[in-house]
Structures are given as structure tokens and as C-alpha cells.
């Protein structure tokens, strides 16, 4: 039944949406600390849901070549290469990965020449020869010297000595918000709340109006060019209705994607964060788990190892329809006022 929190604040969305004796709310807990970026989730999702490919484009954003969540990618694995790590060294990052590695100008063009020559005694036979002056060596070899243009790698200064490094990976997905802006603005009833508390586009209803697209605070929902309709993760509504695990979670080799009852997942996630903190992974934090947040908590929430922005997630998402009741109220009063004015004018005329 519609209640005071129907548009904002903590809520059990399924019963609010009229399901009597709804099953426990279902969701995803995506633990990015064990994600290996294999993308099995992307493929398994497409195979099950018969989603078209997203085009063949090398994007150069590490190993991400699908770019983001779209109508044709309902799971998306983000890759973030970070030159500095948190420094905890517990396998969620690799401090000192490149400590002691050389930086600065290279003398590699001369390497082979030098290596082949006869040098000083280094205690081994025939010994490792000392480097010679790089430019002099380059001059004798006659290799092309092409100057030093920028390498255009975002977020890195090539002069800085490097030491720590980590490679973050995260499988992103529709959040199945407790308060789903997309659903609230859908004029056709194509977007609806399922008995599992998830948010699903009904492909037989959607008419492609596109109102839902700007309503999503995460930029998840998207229109498919070919048919104009909106598409996104259904949390495998057909599968979970039959007691099956969604395709992505089923495939995930390392249990980075976990499916289950949301309450239980939240407890599990809290324990995992605690365990990581105990291991010294201070940066571990949950994202989207809190029913008090701007969307009433996500049905699909995450364990992250850095700020949400690093993964391309909004730090503090707020449902775009939060003020809808107040707006309706104001709009209602305005309408009443207008009606009253109209009536008054009629009356006035008669009078």
C-alpha cells in the first residue's frame, strides 16, 4: 500500500507496490575485492537475455571495451589502473608492486651493444657490463631518435617514480533502487516493481518514450537504437521466478557477484567489510547498502575499495522523484486554485 515513504526513505518496495505476502526482497551483492575482471557476467547475461552486442570498439580504458551500462550491456566491468595503492598489501592492492623498478630516461637502445661488450669484473663470468652514456650509445647505434612526446595516459605523470600499483575491477549493474526514479516517471506502466522488489522493464509494454532515461540517478537505463525501447538488467526476473540464480551470479568464477535475499546479503557484506578491515584493507566500504540513503538503499549494492567516483559511481545518488509528492501537492493546489479562479470568474460573470 502507498505509504509515507513511498517516494523517499526506507521502505519494503514489494509490499508498497501491492504485493501481498511478497517473497523476501532479492538483490545482488557485488564484492569487487575478489573481482578478476573476467567479464563472464557480461557474457552470461547476454547469452541468457539474448542481448545484442555493443559493437567492436577498442576504447583504451584499460581492458574495458564495452564502456558502460547500456541497453546492450546490462552488466559492465569497469577497470581502473591506479598508480598508487592504499598501501595495505593484503591482496586487494599490491603496494610496492613496482618499487625498485627503474624510471627516467632509458638506455635500452644501447643495451645489446653494451651487453655484448667486455666490461669490468663483477664477480660473475663473464659478468654484467656497466651501462655507458645513453646518448653516446644511441649515437653510435644510429637508431631513430623521435623526441619525447606525451604519452597521453590519463592520470599519470611519466616522470614520477612509481612504486605502488593496483588494478581495480568492478562489475556494475542496475541498482534496483528502493525508490526507482525510472519507474516513478514511466507513463505506460512498462517499468514496474516485481514481487522480489526488483525493477523491470516490460518489453511488451514499453513504447520507447524515454522518460525513464534522465530519471535514473546512476545513468543505467538506456534506449536501444534499433527498437527505441528501454532495456536494462531485470535481475533475471524469469529465472528468479523459477528459483534460479541470475545468469551473471551463476557464472561468476570467484563469487564476486552474489545473489540472494537482500537482508542476508547485507549481513554478509557487513561481515566481509569487517573481515577486510581486520586484514588491514581500510579502504573497503559498502556502497548502496544503506536504506537511509538517497534512493532508499539499492537492491544491487557493492563492496568498493575506493571512493565511488573512482568507479564512475555517483557519490550520493538521490532519487529524481524524491519531491514528487510535494510537487503533486503543489501542482494539485495550483490546479485547485486555477479551477477556483475559473469558477469564480464564471460566477463573477454571472453575477
Amino acid at each position: 500500500m502507498a505509504g509515507s515513504n513511498s517516494f523517499y526513505g526506507p521502505l519494503d518496495p514489494a509490499s508498497d507496490a501491492g504485493y501481498v505476502d511478497a517473497p523476501p526482497r532479492k538483490g545482488f551483492f557485488t564484492d569487487t575485492s575478489v573481482c578478476i575482471g573476467c567479464k563472464a557476467c557480461e557474457v552470461a547475461c547476454k547469452e541468457w537475455n539474448l542481448v545484442p552486442d555493443d559493437g567492436f570498439n577498442l576504447l583504451g580504458t584499460s581492458y574495458d571495451n564495452t564502456g558502460g551500462l547500456t541497453a546492450n550491456s546490462w552488466r559492465h566491468v569497469a577497470f581502473i589502473e591506479q598508480p598508487t595503492a592504499g598501501g595495505c598489501g593484503h591482496g586487494t592492492d599490491t603496494p610496492g608492486a613496482f618499487a625498485g623498478m627503474p624510471t627516467g630516461p632509458s638506455v635500452s637502445a644501447a643495451t645489446a651493444v653494451v651487453g655484448a661488450g667486455v666490461g669490468q669484473d663483477t664477480g660473475t663470468s663473464p659478468g654484467v657490463q656497466p651501462a655507458v652514456d645513453a646518448l653516446a650509445a644511441a649515437g653510435t647505434i644510429g637508431t631513430q631518435f623521435l623526441g619525447m612526446p606525451g604519452t597521453d595516459l590519463p592520470g599519470r605523470t611519466t616522470d614520477a617514480p612509481r612504486s605502488d600499483f593496483r588494478w581495480l575491477m568492478m562489475s556494475n549493474v542496475c541498482k534496483h533502487c528502493t525508490h526507482a526514479g525510472c519507474l516513478d516517471v514511466c507513463p505506460t506502466g512498462a517499468l514496474f516493481r516485481t514481487e522480489f522488489g526488483t525493477v523491470v522493464v516490460q518489453e511488451d509494454i514499453c513504447n520507447g518514450c524515454g522518460y525513464c532515461i534522465p530519471a535514473c540517478p546512476y545513468g543505467v537505463i538506456d534506449q536501444r537504437k534499433e527498437d527505441g525501447r528501454a532495456w536494462k538488467c531485470t535481475l533475471c526476473y524469469d529465472r528468479i521466478g523459477d528459483g534460479l540464480t541470475p545468469a551473471c551470479a551463476k557464472a561468476c568464477p570467484t563469487e564476486s557477484i552474489q545473489f540472494g535475499d537482500l537482508d542476508e546479503l547485507r549481513e554478509r557484506a557487513a561481515r566481509r567489510v569487517e573481515a577486510l578491515h581486520e586484514q588491514g584493507v581500510d579502504q573497503a566500504r559498502l556502497y548502496g547498502h544503506d536504506p537511509e540513503d538517497g534512493v532508499g538503499g539499492d537492491g544491487a549494492f557493492f563492496l568498493l575499495l575506493d571512493e565511488p567516483e573512482v568507479y564512475g559511481l555517483p557519490p550520493d545518488p538521490i532519487v529524481t522523484t524524491r519531491d514528487l509528492p510535494a510537487m503533486y501537492k503543489r501542482a494539485g493546489w495550483a490546479a485547485l486554485a486555477m479551477a477556483a479562479t475559473a469558477v469564480a470568474s464564471f460566477l463573477g460573470r454571472r453575477a
Binding site: V34, I36, G37, C38, K39, A40, E42, V43, K46, E47, D53, D54, F56, L58, S62, Y63, N65, T66, E81, T94, A97, F98, G100, M101, P102, T103, G104, S106, S108, A109, A110, T111, A112, V114, G115, A116, T122, T124, S125, P126, G127, V128, Q129, P130, A131, T143, M148, P149, T151, D152, L153, T158, R162, F165, R166, W167, L168, M169, P253, T254
Partner: protein, 862 residues
């Protein structure tokens, strides 16, 4: 592991959650490194130096598991006084003959056994036929009475020989040679040793890129030596584990499609060594020797009975006379070069795409263009079927369709869902696949294709009286046909024949110990005997994991005899008691008088630990109750290999054949016994001490991406995989990008003496320059999945690679080489050939160039 075997990696993640420390050693930071506690960048091609450093750490700090080492390894055996080490001879072992680049191995033998060593000629033949390590170590005989020093103090005992050999592989040398900082190296040493012993075990997992080096076998030997020293073999959680890359690549060696092997690792007959049946049998079993190979005659006769059925009789040596004979190297690279030279008429490609997947792609394609006919059986149209139409040599004008005579048959294949049969996965486990649907249209299984090819050939020859045709006419080839089309042999019938049966009753054998040498049993692969035990297809067992213990023995079937861990006798101490409660696996039950445990014991079930053989016992009877390594000629795990290895009894650091640096340890630069093919179409980039190594100044390596499979035939055709990695790329460090002016996402091309290919540039911190002494070595990395067919296309990294082979197994060095990289796209058409030639000119690589095999002085025999 996370990159190429993600599902296997779940156990690493699980172990990590339970507190295990994960260390990843790799030239580049991969998806595996991302989840490791510690990442160790290393120079490609320096693995023996790294692992040799660990052996040195173990021995100089006495971290070995001494009781295990004394009991189960050959540490105590005394080595011949004539043996001289690489440390004495600047990188060569004693016995090197520069005439044939092979060793006379006499001086490598145990004391008193010098006469048993392989001669140079034998070593040469072994190299040609890739038979050095055939039948495990079962080379020449190792008598039982080798002098031993159980205190391990004698300077000639294996333990001391090993210690001296690796004494110079110090952390300082590892740092200077591999580019690994000492503290990181020591962290690996400490982690490995601290997690080995009675209470703990460590697994060494490698992927088979390790085999793709000119010293590939010795890489793995080095790992095995460490695991033996630390007592990690034959024990749960231990071992040396190869993560293989194809669904049944293990099976295709067990039941080989390999030139030098017959099923069950029996050797293909050699014209001079195995002229007669008895010579062949004795060469396998060595009548004087101990171990299970003594029963080889039963295995061999059963195979011949499976091949020739009733026509195989005692009188005709069970058909041995029909067997074809080897004369030398008939390996795939020799074949390819023979194709170029016009010596080969026809070629079958069975789910294999050498135009992209094999080293030296140009040689592969030019070879195919010079055949009479080629049969390609695959699921999708692959580059190896279209080299005449739109391959790279068509672009350069080297292949012109109108002038290319090769007749090509593309025969569409059935896929894994459309046929029944077994794959043998990477832990030697056979798993049966049920057939889901019929193959469409002309698609057929290999079982169908070869059965019918054989049927037609036999029909054509039916009236022949020629001796040469009697082998195929007498072949047991009557497989009943089944299936919707009524023309498909049954996979289970074939598996039954592989398992073996009693000829008279057709009763399946339950174990290879039931095989007979008198022709009363038939069996196609002795190590697979038992897979049809009790007439039940054991490979089809699928008892859910939740309903059985952690060893899960009721899932599939593992050879031999359904053992899940080999040599598991070593999981108990010499008295037969578990080394520890925690690592309990197989043990002696005194009351029951038998071996028992979680696994099938890899030992005679009722032979007590206290058993000692008579002095003149041979074969199985000669195995002591504490000889855990029952297939070995001396029952021991070999820290030192007195025979069987072509390139030395102990692994030694040699530089890759193409290297930017002089070998810092020895004057001998690279493996002096490597197999080379010096030809104008297979030039090798110069390496020190040769001049002009600077023309190809960078080190490159290739490997797989998670999103693709090998040559791309099963992945670049699929949209869902192609979109994930849509283009060929090359990874370089920011430092190298700056040095060469490479732009992120711009084009670059990579040049070797063989080819120039182009790729998009990914500038990434995951690649790092290494400091090798005072110099900096840059490494670049490429995936090798691309070719010109499929949804996504690109140049093929394997085109860059030349053909130089490991001498033991004839596998090519394709995981490390030298190259140049330059910004921009490569030239096209004929200009491409000129461009590659301009590099060769600068490097003074003339058509007759030969890289020197020996770069040190060879000591005269005396």
C-alpha cells in the same frame, strides 16, 4: 591463472579468503597480479635463474624437508667422478660434442654406472625423436645398487653436487639477472619454504607457456627440484601442476596424435633402434630395471591386439611388422619446412589453425600454399583455410591464388554439444560428455570422419596383395554404427576398446595389471584401463560434489587407476604413517595389511613399508616398500637427472635464443643443444656475443587474454567475446612509449627478422622497464589471438616468432624474443618485405646466417 583459467582461480580466491598468501611472478601485471598480495615483475626468459636462486636459498639455509629428501629422492646417490659441471666449464656440462651439438652423457651417471650413459649418437637420436623424456625418466637402466651417502655429506652425492651448481645463484645475481629486487625475491623464498614441510604444502602452478622456451623442460625441472626438496610431491596441496590450455590436450598426449608416441607413452618404433619387436619391447621395459615399466610387453601387445585384432598373433609379433618407423625428426616444424620445400603432398588440420596459432605464421602459410591438398576440419572459417584467398602473403604478392596449386577441402565439424566422448582435463581426469543434439547439415564428428575415411580406404584396397596394404586391411575397424543418421560409430565402443578387454570373453579389464603379453588381452591405452571397469563408463560418473568428500573420487575417472594424486605413497613417511595429521592422505594400515586413505594408493596395495627386494629382483618386485616413485628406474624422485635429458642433468640459466643481454653467469650464452633450423626463411635475430643485437633492442612476450581462445577460431567468431577485446594491441610501459614516441591508442608496428606486424598501443603502468645490472631492459607484451578472419581481425603476433626448439620435446621458443617497436602502421604490399629486409640488412643477417650454438671454449676430451 585468473587470465587464462578464471574458474580454476576460484580456489586461489577461496584459499586467500582463508588466509593464504598469494604471490604472482610475471613479466607483466595481469588480472592475477591484481588479486595477489605480492607481485614480482621478472625478465622473460630468466626463470631458471629465479628458481635456481630459490634452490640456492633452500640448500644454503638447509630449509629442505630432510627426511623426505633422504627417503624419496636421489639426493644421497653418488655421481660419477667424471662429471663436470657448468660451473667448471663455463656453461657446458662434461661430454659436449660440438660436431653434433649433443652430449655424451656417460659422465653424468651415478658412480659406477658410467657405461650405462647415453652416447652422443643416442642423445642426437633422442633429440630428433623428442624421446629424451619418453616414459618419464625411463631412459637407460638405473641399477639398484648405486652407492649412497645418507648423511648427504659426500662431495659427490647429488645433494652436494646440486648445492655447488646453484651456489652462484644468489639473491644479488637474481636481482641483476631477473630484475627482481632482493627483498622481493627473499619474500618469495621465505613464503615457499615456510609453507612446506610436515604440516604444510605448497603447490606450484604453471601455465604451459613455460614449455615454450628453448629450455622449457628445464624450467619445469627446476620447479620439480624445489618441490622435491621441500617435500611437496605426492602430497595433498602440493605438486607441480600444469594448467593446460585446450579441453583435451592432456588426452591428446595420453592417446597421442604425436609423431613419436603411441597410446600410453609407448614409443613409435624407430627404424634402427627398434628394428625388431623384441628390440622395441626391451627398449621400453629394460629387463634389468625396477618399476612398473617392466610390464611394458603386456601393454604393447595389448595395444597391437586392439589395433589388429585376430590378425595380431604371436607368430607375426602381433603385427609389429606393419608398424611404420621413424628415422629422425618428424615434428610439426620439420613438416612445415618440408612443405615449403615441396616434400609433403597432403595435410589434415583437425581443429587447429596454424596460420595464426603456430610460431612463424609466414612459414606455416607458405608451407600450406605448396601442398597438393589440404583438408581443414573446423567449426568456423579459419585463416588456415583461406591463406590462398586473403592471407598476409596475398597482400605482399608472395601467394597468388591463380598460381597456388593447393586443393583445399573445408569439412565442417561437429562441436562439443553435437557428439559424445571424453575430454581428459588438466588433472588427468576423463569426463564423459553426453550428446545434446545432432550436428547440422554437413557437420560431422572426427569419429565419423576418420571411421569413414578408413572404411573407404579399406574398400579401395580390398583386393590389394601388396605387403604395404596388409596393415590397413587387417586393421580391426568394425565399429557398429549408430545415431539418427545411422552412420556414426559409438564413442562408448571406442572407449571400451581403449579400456581393454579379454579377447576370448570380451570382458572389460579393470586394471592394467590384468593385461597379458600373450595376446589374450587387447587394450588401446594401458594407462586408461579401468575407465570401463565392470562394464561401466566410469568417466560418466557425476555424483554431485555435495554428496562426497573433498577428493570427489566419484566424479569422472583419472588415469592411472583412478588416482587423483600421483605418487601419493610420498604423502606418508617411510614407515607408512602420515607426515602429519593435517596433511594425511594415503597411509599403511598395519592391521588390515594394506595401504588405505582418501585416494587410490599409488603403490601395490599390500606391499608393506618394510618390504625390501632381493638383490637380483627386477621390475615391480624390485620396488622397496619406501620407493615412492614407482615408475622411476630407481624408485626415487630425481633432483639430478643422470639420463633422459638432452641438455643437462641439472637446469642451468641460459639466455633465450634471442636476448638483449650477454649471459651474466656463463660464457655459454644459450642452450647449446637446442634444435635449430638454420634456413634463409627462418633467421634468428642476433644476440650477444653476436653483433647488432641493438637492431632489435626490446624483449617481447605473448600470451592469452581471458576473453579470447588461442588462434581465435572459437572466440573471434563470437560477438559476445569479440566485443570484449575487439582489436589487436600491444602493451608498453610509459617509459618505452616516451622513448619510441608511441601514443596511447595510436598505431605501432613491431619488427623481427621474420615479420613486421601492427597493433594499437596501450600505454600502461602494468608494464615496467627492468634494471638488469646498470642497464634498462624494456619488455613489451602482445596477445596472439588475431588473424584476418572473424568478426574482429588484426595482425598475428605469432608471425614475429622464429623456429628454434627445446631439444627434449621439440617445442618452440615462442614466449620470449627480441624486436623493435616503432610508432605508426607497418608498410603494406611489397614494401612490407623491403622493410623487414632493411632491418635484416642493418643486423647483417645474411640468408646463410647461423646463430652460434657454442659461445665458450669446449674442453677437449682427455
Amino acid at each position: 591463472m585468473a587470465e587464462a583459467h578464471p574458474v580454476g582461480f576460484q580456489y586461489v580466491v577461496e584459499a586467500k579468503k582463508r588466509g593464504a598468501k598469494v604471490i604472482h611472478i610475471d613479466p607483466r601485471f595481469t588480472r592475477t597480479s591484481a588479486l595477489a598480495h605480492s607481485y614480482v615483475p621478472v625478465r622473460a626468459g630468466a626463470d631458471i635463474a629465479f628458481l635456481g636462486g630459490i634452490i640456492n636459498y633452500i640448500l644454503s639455509n638447509e630449509k629442505d624437508f630432510r627426511e623426505y629428501v633422504v627417503a624419496y629422492t636421489n639426493a644421497a646417490m653418488l655421481v660419477s667422478e667424471d662429471f663436470k659441471d657448468t660451473e667448471d666449464l663455463n656453461g657446458l656440462f662434461s661430454g659436449y660434442d660440438p660436431e653434433i651439438n649433443a652430449y655424451d652423457q656417460s659422465s653424468w651417471q651415478y658412480a659406477g654406472q658410467q657405461d650405462e650413459g647415453q652416447s652422443r649418437g643416442q642423445a642426437h637420436v633422442d633429440r630428433e625423436t623428442a624421446s629424451g623424456l619418453e616414459q618419464e625418466s625411463h631412459g637407460p637402466p638405473i641399477p639398484a645398487d648405486v652407492p649412497r651417502d645418507l648423511t648427504l655429506q659426500d662431495p659427490r652425492c647429488v645433494y652436494q653436487v646440486l648445492k655447488r651448481h646453484y651456489a652462484r645463484y644468489t639473491p644479488e645475481v637474481v636481482e641483476r639477472l631477473c630484475g627482481v629486487p632482493q627483498d622481493k625475491f627473499l619474500e618469495v623464498c621465505e613464503a615457499w619454504t615456510a609453507n612446506s614441510g610436515r604440516e604444510r604444502t605448497t603447490a606450484l602452478v604453471y601455465s604451459v607457456g613455460w614449455t615454450q622456451h628453448s629450455v622449457g623442460v628445464q624450467y619445469i625441472r627446476t620447479g620439480a627440484i624445489i618441490q622435491l626438496l621441500l617435500g611437496n610431491m605426492g602430497r595433498p596441496g602440493g605438486g607441480v601442476m600444469a594448467l593446460r590450455g585446450h579441453a583435451s590436450i592432456q588426452g591428446s598426449t595420453d592417446i597421442p596424435t604425436l609423431f613419436n608416441l603411441l597410446p600410453g607413452y609407448l614409443p613409435m618404433p624407430h627404424h634402427s633402434q627398434h628394428e625388431t619387436f623384441d628390440q622395441w619391447i626391451d627398449a621400453i621395459r629394460h629387463p634389468e630395471q625396477k618399476g612398473f615399466w617392466a610390464n611394458a610387453k603386456s601393454f604393447a601387445v595389448s595395444l597391437l591386439k586392439a589395433y589388429w585384432g585376430d590378425a595380431a598373433t604371436e607368430d607375426n609379433d602381433f603385427g609389429y611388422g606393419w608398424m611404420p618407423r621413424l628415422t629422425g625428426d618428424h615434428g610439426i616444424y620439420q613438416q612445415v619446412l618440408d612443405m615449403i620445400d615441396g616434400k609433403i603432398k597432403g595435410y589434415f588440420l583437425l581443429g587447429q589453425n596454424p596460420a595464426v596459432g603456430s610460431a612463424h605464421g609466414r612459414a606455416q602459410r607458405l608451407g600450406m600454399a605448396n601442398l597438393d591438398w589440404l583438408v581443414v576440419r573446423d567449426l568456423f572459417m579459419i585463416e588456415s583455410a583461406t591463406f590462398w584467398k586473403d592471407g598476409p602473403e596475398v597482400a605482399t604478392g608472395e601467394i597468388v591464388a591463380e598460381q597456388c596449386k593447393t586443393e583445399v577441402f573445408f569439412m565442417p565439424a561437429a562441436n562439443h554439444a553435437e557428439k559424445e566422448g571424453t575430454f581428459t582435463q588438466t588433472q588427468r581426469m576423463l569426463q564423459w560428455r553426453e550428446k545434446a543434439v545432432e550436428p547440422p547439415q554437413d557437420c560431422r564428428s572426427e569419429l565419423w570422419f576418420f571411421y569413414h575415411l578408413g572404411r573407404i580406404i579399406r574398400e579401395r584396397l580390398a583386393d590389394s596383395k601388396l605387403e604395404r596394404d596388409q596393415g590397413v586391411l587387417n586393421l580391426a575397424w568394425n565399429y557398429p554404427l549408430h545415431g539418427k543418421r545411422g552412420d556414426e560409430p559409438s564413442g562408448e565402443d571406442v572407449l571400451f576398446e581403449i579400456n581393454g578387454y579379454e579377447v576370448a570373453t570380451h570382458k572389460p579389464l579393470s586394471s592394467f595389471t590384468e593385461m597379458k603379453a600373450d595376446g589374450s588381452t587387447a587394450g588401446g591405452c594401458w594407462i586408461y584401463t579401468g575407465v570401463f571397469k565392470d562394464g561401466v563408463n566410469q568417466a560418466a560418473r557425476r555424483k554431485p560434489r555435495t554428496e562426497q568428500d573433498w577428493v570427489a573420487r566419484e566424479w569422472g575417472w583419472a588415469w592411472p587407476a583412478d588416482r587423483r594424486t600421483l605418487y601419493n605413497r610420498a604423502s606418508a613417511d617411510p614407515e607408512g604413517k602420515p607426515w602429519s595429521e593435517r596433511k594425511k592422505y594415503v597411509w599403511w594400515d598395519e592391521e588390515a595389511g594394506e595401504w588405505t586413505g582418501y585416494d587410490v594408493p599409488d603403490f601395490e596395495k599390500t606391499k608393506p613399508p618394510s618390504y625390501r627386494p632381493d638383490k637380483d629382483a627386477t621390475g615391480v618386485a624390485a620396488i622397496s616398500g619406501d620407493d615412492a616413485f614407482i615408475m622411476q628406474g630407481d624408485g626415487k624422485g630425481w633432483l639430478y637427472a643422470p639420463s633422459g635429458l638432452i641438455d643437462g642433468p641439472m637446469p642451468t640459466h641460459y639466455e633465450p635464443v634471442e636476448s638483449t643481454v650477454r649471459n651474466p653467469l656463463y660464457e655459454q650464452q644459450a642452450n647449446p643443444t637446442r634444435k635449430v633450423y638454420d634456413r634463409s626463411d627462418n633467421l634468428t635475430n642476433p644476440s650477444p656475443p653476436e653483433r647488432h643485437a641493438e637492431v632489435y633492442p626490446y624483449v617481447f612476450s605473448t600470451s592469452r587474454l581471458t576473453e579470447h581462445h588461442t588462434a581465435g577460431g572459437m572466440s573471434r567468431q563470437l560477438a559476445y567475446l569479440s566485443e570484449l577485446q575487439p582489436e589487436m594491441f600491444v602493451e608498453v610501459s610509459p617509459e618505452l612509449a616516451r622513448e619510441r614516441g608511441l601514443q596511447h591508442l595510436g598505431w605501432a608496428h613491431i619488427v623481427t627478422a621474420r615479420a613486421a606486424i601492427e597493433a594499437k598501443v596501450l600505454v600502461t603502468d602494468r608494464l615496467t622497464p627492468l634494471r638488469i645490472e646498470d642497464r634498462i631492459v624494456h619488455q613489451i607484451w602482445m596477445p596472439y589471438h588475431w588473424g584476418n578472419e572473424g568478426l574482429v581481425t588484426g595482425d598475428s603476433a605469432n608471425d614475429l616468432i622464429g623456429i628454434t626448439l627445446d631439444p627434449n620435446v621439440l617445442i618452440q621458443e615462442s614466449k620470449v624474443g627480441t624486436c623493435d617497436i616503432q610508432p605508426g602502421r607497418r608498410p603494406t604490399g611489397k614494401h612490407l618485405l623491403d622493410y623487414v629486409q632493411s632491418y635484416r640488412d642493418r643486423a647483417e643477417l645474411r640468408p646463410d646466417h647461423q646463430a652460434p650454438l657454442v659461445t665458450t671454449e669446449v674442453e677437449e676430451e682427455g
